[in-house]
Structures are given as C-alpha cells and as structure tokens.
C-alpha cells in the first residue's frame, strides 16, 4: 500500500484522511505522489520546525490502515453474543458465591451493593476482559471463549461503553457538530442519517426537547444524559454498556433501557433504585469486594415492580403538575384522601 499514490490511498481507504489531518499534514497538490514522496518534499528545517518524524509517520501509516480496516471488518462480523463472568475471590480471599454467570445481548443485569463494596472493580474487570490477572481473580469470556486481546489494547474497539454519573460536555460544539464528529470517528458511512436517528431517540427520552443547533454545553443534565444514551445505543461500537447510577437523570429510564437493549447491547447497571434493580432479568449482589449472590428477578418481584411503577408514575405526574404551576389535588393524581 505504500506504493499507492495519495489519491489512490484516499480512494481505497477514505478514513486515511484522519491520519493526515491529525498529524497536520497538508497533502493538497500531492495527490499523484506516494506518501514517501510527499514526506520528501519537506526540508530538513521544516521537519525539525514542525517536529515531524518522517520514519515514524511512514511506519505508522500501514499500522493505522490495518487497525482501521480491522475495525470496519469487525463491525460487520465477529459480533458479541454473550459475556460470561467466571467467579474469583472477595477481598478476604473467599470464593465468590456463584460459579459462572452468562449474560446475552438484550439482557439487563443490575448490580446492587453498598457504596465501596466493589462495584467499580467488577466494572473494571469486565472493561479489561480480566483473565485471572486482576485482584479479584475473575475471568471474562466472550461468546463462551477467552476473548481476543484486541478488546484490551485497541482504543477503537473497546468491549465496554461506560455511561458514568457525571456527563459534562467539554467540547464547544452544537449537537449536530458533536454527533458528526463522533460518527466520523466511528467511520460511519452515512453520518447524516445516524445523526437524525440519534436526535430523535434522544428527544424521546428527554423531558424537554432540544434540536441539532443547540450547543452541547447548554444542554440540561437530563438532556445530556438522553443524548449520551441515544448516542451510545446507536453509534458506539462497544457491545457492553455499563451504567453507573442512572436514577437522578431526569429522563425516561425505562425507555432508555429499552433503547439500549433494542440495539443488541448487554446492559450492566449499578443502581440503588428498586425500579431499575427489578427491571433487570438478574441482579448481582456485591459484598466485601466479591459477588456474594446472583438472583433471578422472581414472579412476586415482577408483580411488585408493576405496583412500584404505578407509584413512580404518580410521583412523575405530581412533579410535572407542580412544574406547570398547578395546584395538586386528589383528582389530578387519582388518589383518595
């Protein structure tokens, strides 16, 4: 590929543009030259001045092309269908209270336990695809097998997308520019369609609507969360989503979870909210740094969930009415007093 002219290179690997752009190489006018010939046009003075390392750029380009092509190929095949956690030990060295747990795509697992009990360590084990080489001694299997090292070392191809509690934007961009930037970094073929899908899904989750021209920095907490969840569901290539405390989000939590699992993701959610904990098919109980139990959500709990949802929607209605400036009455809330 190093014999190709820059024009041919761009035609065959359109994403190579990012390599030139990020390395501040202006290739305009050198389309018929090879990359080496292009680099040869710099004088020694320019090379030193701009801190250009010609040999490194030359040897990095094939690595970059290979990584990106692999990423595109993986997107299409090699799907993650299940993730298995094999038990390790808690902080005192006792074996964990389960032997193995397999989660499939479109399943939700909740994680409960006191603060500091070891939830972060579990999330880190999964993120890293631990192979008995972390303090807990757990192993993670993907599709029932020991995972490929690419999940560990490739920055473009992470196993896990993490939706953390704080969700600030630091880029000074509009929603559209922001989503386009993300879509381009994911090598999406038709960014416009994807951008429209995301804003639609995000507005479906957020209490107050926003549009593509809104600057990301002026989104409310709920709006940013909605945008991030929609973005992760639709655009992120990571097959596993870890959610840390979604409760204070000001968004439709149930719809948010439905959106994530509808895009074939495995969802793990650390939570203190009974509604969310019971919405999962299974829940992991963490104590003293280890998984003490894995419980199935039982029939009675499912019935209770329905009641809890009614109570929750009552509180939501009351909140909305108060926001509008209404006076609450037994009638508006369908309650007897």
């Amino acid at each position: 590929m190093m014999e190709l002219s820059l024009d041919q290179l761009l035609k065959e690997y359109p994403f190579v543009n990012a390599y030139f752009e990020q390395n501040k190489l202006d290739i305009a006018g050198y389309g018929d030259k090879t990359f080496r010939e292009f680099l040869d046009h710099f004088t020694e003075e320019e090379l030193e001045d701009q801190a250009i390392d010609r040999e490194k750029l030359l040897s990095d380009l094939p690595v970059y092309l290979e990584q990106m092509s692999a990423f595109l190929g993986l997107e299409k095949s090699n799907r993650v269908l299940s993730m298995t956690i094999l038990a390790g030990y808690d902080k005192s060295g006792n074996p964990e209270g389960f032997s193995e747990l397999t989660v499939e795509t479109s399943q939700i697992i909740s994680i409960v336990g006191p603060t500091g009990s070891g939830k972060s360590r579990l999330l880190a084990d999964i993120e890293w695809a631990a192979q008995r080489d972390t303090p807990t001694g757990r192993s993670i299997l993907i599709n029932g097998k020991k995972p490929d090292n690419k999940w560990r070392f490739s920055s473009n191809n992470r196993l896990v997308a993490q939706l953390s509690q704080n969700m600030n934007f630091v880029m000074d961009l509009t929603v559209e520019e922001f989503l386009r930037m993300h879509a381009v970094s994911r090598l999406v073929e038709d960014p416009q369609t994807v951008i429209e899908q995301i804003i639609l899904a995000a507005n479906d989750l957020a209490g107050e609507k926003f549009d593509l021209t809104t600057p990301v920095t002026s989104l409310s907490g709920g709006q940013s969360r909605a945008l991030m969840i929609a973005d992760t569901a639709i655009l992120s290539s990571s097959p596993i989503v870890l959610i840390d405390e979604i409760e204070n989000a000001g968004i439709d939590r149930k719809k948010a979870l439905e959106l994530l699992i509808s895009s074939d993701k495995i969802v793990l959610m650390a939570t203190h909210d009974p509604l969310l904990a019971l919405m999962a098919d299974k829940r992991i109980i963490i104590k003293n740094g280890g998984i003490s139990k894995v419980l199935d959500t039982n029939e009675e709990e499912k019935l209770l969930l329905e009641e809890l949802e009614k109570m929750d929607s009552l509180i939501q209605t009351a909140r909305q009415e108060l926001r509008k400036g209404s006076t609450l009455s037994g009638k508006t809330l369908n309650m007897e007093i």
């Binding site: 030193e48 390392d53 970059y64 972060s120 953390s164 600030n168 992760t232």
Partner: protein, 233 residues
Amino acid sequence: MNLIIVSGPPSSGKTSVILKTIASYQNRNIKVGVVKFDCLYTDDDAAYEKAGIPVKKGLSGALCPDHFFASNIEEVVNWGNEEKLDLLITESAGLCNRCSPYLKEIKGVCVIDNLSGINTPKKIGPMLKSADFVVITKGDIVSQAEREVFASCVSSVNPRAVTMHVNGLTGQGAYELGSLLYDENQNIESVQGMQLRFPMPSALCSYCLGETRIGEAFQMGNVKKINLGADKT
C-alpha cells in the same frame, strides 16, 4: 531494575496515575522509587513520601526542563540502582509540548486528560506521538462519546501505542496499566549511551544567553521570524 519514563502536560494526572499504579504492585513485592522533574515548584514528592515511596525531585529552574532531564537521567538511574529498586519511574511535565524525554528501549508513557480538548493530540508533539503507552485520564467527567472521539484522535497520531483509560481517583485501569508496565526480565544497569527518541529543538539565540532587551538590534544566532503576511517583508 526497570525504568519507566512518564510525561504529560501539567495537571493531567501523572502523579495520581503513578500512585495508583504503584499501589497495584503492593502485593507483588516490587520496590518502586520515583524521581519527579519539574521547573519551578512541585509538592508531588510529598504525595509519594506519604505513600512510603522513595522519591527525589529535580527542579530545572532557569534551564529548559527537558535538557535538564536529559543531562540528569544517568545519575537518576544510578540512584535507583543504589537504592536497589526493582522499578524506577521518572515523572516530568512536558511543558512546551514539543519535547519528549523518552529513550529508545525504555518504556515511555504519556498521560493526557480528556478535559484538555479535542485538538490536544494535534498540539502535542513527540511526547505523545512517540510514547509506547498513552494513558487518558478524567474520563469519568466527560461523556462516552467524547472519550471515544478523543481516543480515536490519539490513535491516529500514534497508532502503535497502547491507549488506555485510567481513573486517577478511583484507580480504575491502574492495575491493568501496572501489569503492562513492569517487566521482570528488564534490567537497566545504566542508560549511558542510550538515545533520545526525538531530538530536542535547536536553540542558542541571544536570549538563551541572557539577553533581555527587545528588538532586532539585540537578536543574534538562531532567530526565526513570525509570518505576518506577504506585504510586510
């Protein structure tokens, strides 16, 4: 002894990442020491001391920090060997973003943070581009999308590096970083004769030599002029 060279812009989280990484060696009986390089001031040595880690600091003062690093690293490595360390970590703030203190054959780690802005990978030169490991910090306070975009910008300027996210506060990722950095088979007796990965900028204009007066009449040596447009030649 293992030697690891860590650098990164000020306040990117180098010290926190190093402390958490060292903590992950706790049960492995690895003796770690740190030498902190800085310009005018640092109190990071106190943080290392508090954690019971042997530490030395060097302030470059009036000298260019990376020149100071290059002219002292040999003695620093000797100190580490005298202390019978298993692992010596040097930490330096790459202040002008142009230099890199990494040596060929020695693992180089660059720490940058998500808050520094999306164009940062373009702004940082060899310190980022020639690192073996790029550690991205402060991921917990930005969105998943920004983490992904930032990491992909890093990968396109340095596709060979292992790019990792580490949280300097909770230590998430530090254990994993630690397992990649320490190599039982590496034994550095001395760095004499080793080479920098990238040459430092050429210098020696009259200001290097102490000139303080402004104006063309006082400028000698290696002087470069800003391009303010064709009409002003």
